[in-house]
Each structure stands twice: as C-alpha cells, then as structure tokens.
Symmetry: D2
C-alpha cells in the first residue's frame, strides 16, 4: 500500500462496509470546516463498529486492538451539518495485525473528501501483549479484504 | 421551567424536531459509557442544525447565538455504538434570547436517557452585542414552542 | 446552592484546589471561542485529577463516580491559545454523592469567565449501584468543602 | 523524511519548540489510555500556538494553513492525568507549504511515546487558493528547521 492515494481511484465500490455519520457543531474548527483530527475519531468509530457488529468483539473481549500508526490525506473540506459516508476496507491482514483503509464521502458524491487509515495490533486485554487474532475476528476482517489487496499483502 | 425534570414526563411526542446521531468510539470514556460532556456537543448539534435548516441562519448570518447557560440531567447511561435520537423543543422565547430543551432517547425507547438544554442570546456577529432576533429566526423558533410552555413563558 | 451565580462573588480565594489547562486549537468552534461543551470536559478533568491525586481513587477503585446532573453559566468568552485556571470546591457533600463547583479563570484575572459544576453519585464499579463513599474519598472531598457551604448543606 | 520513525532517534534536543499539555479525563477512551485521535488535536495545538505566537499569524490573518495530510506512530500508551510535553520542528519548508514533525514525551522521559506530524498548505483565507507564505511566517518556520533537514529539503 502506498502512503499516497490517488484520489480518483478510491471509489465507493472499493469499500465493502459503510456507515453514515452526522457531523457535529463542534467538529468545525474556527476555519468553519471539519477539523483534521475529527476524521480519526470517525475512522475509530467505523472500525470499532465493524469489530463489534461483525467480528464478535465485545466490551469484555479477551483481545483488544491497539492503534500503532495512522495517517490521512485530505482532498477537499467538509462542514457541519453534512452527513458523511465512511467506507471501510482491509488492505493488509497479518496474524496479529490488520491495516484498515477508510474513505470519507460526502453524501451524493463518488469522489472521497479524504482517505486514510490505521493499523491495529491485537493484544491480550490485561497484559497488552500482542497475540494471534481470534478466529471469528480474522474471518470478519477477511470479508473486508479485497482480492487485489489480498494478493499484494502476500508479497 | 423547573431545572429538575421528571424523567417520565419527557416523551418523544413533546419534541417537534428530531435528529439521530451515531455515537463515536471516543464518546465512551474509560467507564465505557458516553461521557457527560458529549451530550452538550449533541445539544449544540441539533440546535444549530435546526437554526441552519429551518431558521435561515447561515455561516455568514449577521446574527449568531451565544450560549449563556446550559444544564443536563442524566437518567441512564448510553454507549457507543448506539444511535441516539435527539428531540428538540423551545421552552422559552424572548426578544433576543431562546431557551431550548433537548431530550436524548436510545433508539426504540420512549423514556429519555438524559434531558437538558441551554439558552442562546443572539448577538451581532462582529460586535457581539445582543439584539432582537431576526424575523425568520423567531418564526422558526416559534414552531418549536409548545402551547403550554408558550403560556408559561409569558408569566 | 442557587443555580444562578453572581459572577462577582466567585473569587479565586473561594476555591481550595486549582489546576491550569492549556486550551487546544479544536476547543475553538467556528465562532473562534472555546465551545461551551469544552468547559464540561475541563470540569471532568479537574474533578477526576483531584479524586486520583488526593482521594485515593485509581483506575481500579471499587467505586466510581457517575455524573447525574451538570450545569454551567458562561460570563465571557475565552479562546485558544489561552491557558485557563480551574478552581474546584465542594458545595454539598452527602453520604454517597457530592456536588462540585468549578470556576474558570483566565490567567491574570480574578473574575471568572464561567462557573458551573456537577453532582457525582458514587457507585460500585461492576453493579453500578450507589453506595456510601469510601472513607479516604470522603476525607479528601471534605477538604474542599468551605465552612459556609458546609453549614448550608446541613439545612 | 521517512514515514517510519526510529523511536530512539527522536530526542528532546531535536525539537526547538516545546509546549506542555495537561491531558483531560475524556482523552482516555474505554481502554483507559489517551485515544489515538487526541494526539492530532495536540499536534494542531502546538503548531497553531507557534504560528500565533512566533509567526505573526492572528485570527484575522490574510493567510491560513490547511492540513493536507497527517500521520502518527504510537510507541507506548499515555493516560490521563499525565502532562505531556510536545516538541515541534519543521522537516520540510517549501514556498507555500510546510511539514511539521511533533514528538510527544511523557514528563521526565527522553524517549517519545509517539511521533507524527502534518503538512500545512497556506491559502488565502477567503478564496482558499494556495499562495506563497508571508515573509514573517516563513522566517518563523525557518527557525524550527534543523540544519540536516534543511539540506534535505533543498534536494
């Protein structure tokens, strides 16, 4: 995965899981657009919603995912009170770690306003030591892995 | 308006305007429920969405609303990834100020998880001096004022 | 305790515990001042810092404090990148609950920009049932209770 | 600049500008550590504080900086109520853009808990078109540019 996205290549059809988020008044900073930090709050939200709803993660799971690196590219501003569609896919799936890509679309638009993502390392909740991810978790994440990326990630 | 709500009296039908907000991962604090401060972010969001969409407010309006006091009562916890329905009404409408009440409902429930609100004083954008609210603004807010409260607010 | 403060009565000397908080860029909303919701984040911060540092609370304590109601009055705006001094006192101390008052001062000023607070009910961490607060906790909170308020709270 | 940092190479002495930030209760997410998104709020804060205090930027400047990409690597967790020292330097300085690097240190520690940064493109406030940065701004940013990076940025 390159760290630089080509804006026009990130299409809605590339992302198998979507959730819509209503922006909040305080998401806008004093430049009257959604502050860059807010995108990361949204990334965390769509990822963890998927883990809870599709991968048998719960608030008492033995494993939790810790973010070890994150990044985002911002193509065009968005503003409260817009509703944003967040598309999620997996671009790299390892034994104990996964790298997500998230695209942020304004409603009704096919070109993303921003694309970013982060890498989760799964750890045992109490010790915070990394360990191979649970089977149900891995299966859920596999469903978000595109064929093209799947091949790439084996290289 | 009493500052103490009776939980069972705040029903969905009391609120003429509703918006749904998806909670975010970071809304939960370390007690695994939505932090008390987040409710105020949501109050601000539903109020300002209404002002922008129903009262001809814009990001360049001559008047802006400044919050002079706010309050909330918390009846039961809510948690990410729940979707919350926010009901809005006006409980007091003056010449240059308005007091909103906002009720937070979990989806599918009729008893609110929290009820609060705040008072906006409208001011001229640059000088920040209070002034009578614009006609379109007042008309929009009147539509959120219940009959019962309307009478009370004249006392 | 009245829910309406007299701005000029809240002096720095009324608050036995202080912490300073540097504002953050995103605290400012699109009106270029610290958003009203942010004050509640700061209230939570000074209260919990006191509980952790002076009342033997820890991230594994058997008891946790849940906020049941909160409120704030805003007298004058503050803006990033100001540093804010937060003064904390206890205005009501019960068996299982405590009501804090927090005043927000700009550095170098003696009149607060805002005064508010909230009520904590202490509960057993797992069951979330209220119970009398632990002795060390109560002692720590007693040290923040002013004589005048102490008498009032007995009435 | 590589997008992957070597943790041990980011020393306090590499960063010419520092500000300390007190963490807030709600910075901790339900895993009881500061949420990954919060680091970006802090990046924005130290950068904009520097621009306002050392580069003649003001809330009415003709130019504003828009974030076009950001990234962070997280080496070890931090938690409320810690105070964090944020070190800032410039790693690339162009005609209309600048790339900052920010390191997050726990107080008393010389190895960072996280290192990240972002790129600002300066634009005319109203049109949002990029333009060469003002002289005072560029001079202020030059003072944060290390010699080694300065040479690299000329290549």
């Amino acid at each position: 995965m390159s760290s630089h996205y080509e804006k026009t290549k990130a299409q809605r059809s590339s992302y198998p899981f979507f959730l819509s988020y209503r922006t909040r008044w305080s998401d806008n900073d004093q430049y009257s657009h959604v502050n860059n930090s807010i995108y990361y709050h949204l990334f965390d939200s769509v990822v963890n919603a998927y883990l809870l709803q599709q991968c048998e993660l719960s608030s008492h799971s033995a494993q939790i995912g810790l973010v070890v690196s994150s990044h985002c590219q911002f193509f065009s501003p968005v503003s409260f009170p817009q509703v944003l569609d967040l598309g999620l896919r997996v671009v790299k799936l390892g034994t104990s770690s996964v790298t997500y890509e998230v695209a942020v679309f304004e409603q009704g638009r096919d070109v993303p306003a921003a694309v970013g993502g982060y890498t989760h390392v799964f750890v045992e909740r109490a010790s915070r030591k990394s360990e191979p991810m649970a089977a149900a978790l891995r299966e859920g994440l596999l469903r978000l892995l595109s064929v093209k990326e799947s091949l790439e990630s084996k290289l």
